[in-house]
Point group: C2
Chain length 244, copies 2
DNA sequence: GAGTGGTCTAGACCACCAA
DNA sequence: TGGTGGTCTAGACCACTCA
C-alpha cells in the first residue's frame, strides 16, 4: 500500500557489513597477511548475527580480498606468498615445465600521464607518473617486455633501487612498501608484429608475432592503480584462461 | 579417540545434494530453459532443510549451471538467450562499438581423432569425429577462422545443413538439438603468424599476426566435448579478460 | 494474495588447528 | 582442550513476480 514507489534500492545487511570491513581494510586496521577478528567478534562489533558476518566474509573471500583458513582464522590476502606472487601472470610453457623466472630492469623514470593511459588510470593528463620498463626472463630466455606506469603520488620513492631490492616482484612490493594491494585486473589481448625496438630487446626478428597484453589493475574500492603493457613471445608459451 | 585415521574425506551434505541435482540435470529431468523444482520442494525430496538445498543451488548458480530469478524460480541455464549465446566469445571491437556477427561455413566433414586433439577430448585415436571449418564475420569483415572438432557419437546427424539451420550458433545448437550444454571451457592463447591458407581465408597477408585461441569446452561432469581453434585478426579488435 | 527466491537469526554440532 | 571456521537446521520475515 503505502510503500515507496522506488525504494532507494534495498541493500542487504551483509552487504553493508562487507563495506564496513572493506573500509577497515582500506584504513589499514588489518594489514595484508594479518588475521582479521573472528566471525563472532565481528558479529558483536556490528551487532548482527554470526551468519550475517559470515556471508559478508564469504563475499570478500570470493573476491580474493581475504582468505579463510579453517581452524585458524580469516586473513587479509597478500601477494607475498610464493604461490600467489604471480597471480596475474598467466603465461606458461607449452610443454608444461616449470621455469625459473627472473627480471631485468631496463629503465625507471618519471614522466607525465597522457592520453589513454591517463584516462584508464583516472588521472588528469600531465599528472606525474613513474614509468618502468623491464624484461622478464623465463629460464634465461627473454619472453616478456613490460612497460609499467604508476601514479607517482601513492608510490612515492619508488625507483630502480626499490625494484631491485624486491627482485622485480612488483605486486609484492606495492603491498609491503606502500600498503597497496591489487584486487582485480582487466586485460585486453591482441596479436601484433614486433617493432624494431621491441624486437631488439626481446632478441627476436622485427615482425615476429607477439602477444600484447594491456592490463589495468585495481585496488580496494575499484580504484585503478597500475597500467601495464606486456609484449610476450609465445612461440613455445601460451596464455591460459578459464571460461565459466 | 576412535576416529578413522583417514576419514574417507568429509563431504558436506549440500555437496551431495549438488551432485544429485546435477545427475538429474544430466538425466534430462529438467531441460535447459526449464525451471527446476522450488527449494522447498527439493528440500522435501532430499529430506534436508531448505537452507541446505539453497547452498547446493548457490554452487550450481556460481558455475552458471543454473540461473536464479527472484520471485519466479530457478532455471536450467541455457545458451539460447541472445545475451548468453556468445558467452565464450571474448573478442570485441577496440572502439567499443557493437557489431553484426555472421557465420560462413567453409566445410563440415567426418574424420578420425588424432594426437593432441584426441587426447584433449579424451577419445581414442581413430575415433570418428566431425570437423567443421567456418569464418566469423564482424560487420562484413572476416575476423575469425574457426576449426571445430566434435566427437561424432554424441552429435549424431550433425552436418552442414544443421549448422546453417542454426545460423552458426554452435552452443545453442548443441543444447537444442543434442541436449548438451557446455558448462565451462579452457583456453590457450598465443600469437602466431598467418600461414598461406589461413591468410587467404581471412583476406590478409601471409605472416600477419593472428591471435590463436585453442579452446576445449566441457559439459556436465567435466566431460570434454568440443575442441576448437580460432585464428583471430586483432588489428582493431581485442580479447578481453578479467582477472580476480 | 500465493508462491518463489533472498535475508537474517539463533543455536547445535562438526572438522581443523595449535598449544 | 579451546578457539576458529564450516555445516545444518528451523523458523521468521522481506522482496519480487504474476495471476
Amino acid at each position: 500500500m503505502n510503500k515507496q514507489l522506488n525504494p532507494p534500492s534495498f541493500r542487504p545487511l551483509y552487504d553493508q557489513i562487507k563495506v564496513l570491513i572493506t573500509q577497515s581494510l582500506i584504513a589499514g586496521e588489518w594489514k595484508p597477511g594479518e588475521a582479521i577478528p573472528s566471525e563472532i567478534e565481528l558479529a558483536h562489533r556490528y551487532k548482527v548475527s554470526q551468519g550475517t558476518v559470515r556471508k559478508a566474509i564469504d563475499g570478500l573471500a570470493a573476491e580474493n580480498i581475504v582468505v579463510r583458513r579453517q581452524g585458524k582464522g580469516t586473513y587479509v590476502a597478500t601477494h607475498n606468498e610464493e604461490a600467489s606472487k604471480l597471480r596475474f601472470l598467466r603465461l606458461t610453457a607449452s610443454n608444461g615445465k616449470k621455469e625459473l623466472l627472473q627480471h631485468q630492469l631496463i629503465s625507471c623514470v618519471r614522466s607525465k600521464a597522457q592520453g589513454e593511459v591517463a584516462r584508464m588510470l583516472a588521472l588528469k593528463a600531465g599528472t606525474s607518473v613513474i614509468e618502468v620498463k623491464r624484461l622478464l626472463n623465463f629460464s634465461d630466455r627473454s619472453l616478456i617486455l613490460d612497460h609499467i606506469i604508476l601514479p607517482s603520488g601513492p608510490f612515492k620513492g619508488l625507483g630502480a633501487a626499490r625494484i631491485e631490492e624486491n627482485k622485480g616482484s612488483m605486486y609484492s612490493m606495492y603491498e609491503t612498501q606502500y600498503g597497496i594491494r591489487m584486487v582485480r585486473a582487466e586485460e585486453r589481448l591482441k596479436a601484433i608484429a614486433a617493432d624494431k625496438s621491441s624486437a631488439k630487446e626481446l632478441g627476436i626478428a622485427p615482425g615476429f608475432p607477439l602477444l600484447s597484453i594491456e592490463r589495468v589493475s585495481y585496488t580496494y574500492g575499484d580504484k585503478p592503480m597500475e597500467w601495464r603493457l606486456g609484449l610476450c613471445v609465445t612461440d613455445d608459451h601460451h596464455y591460459v584462461n578459464e571460461l565459466e
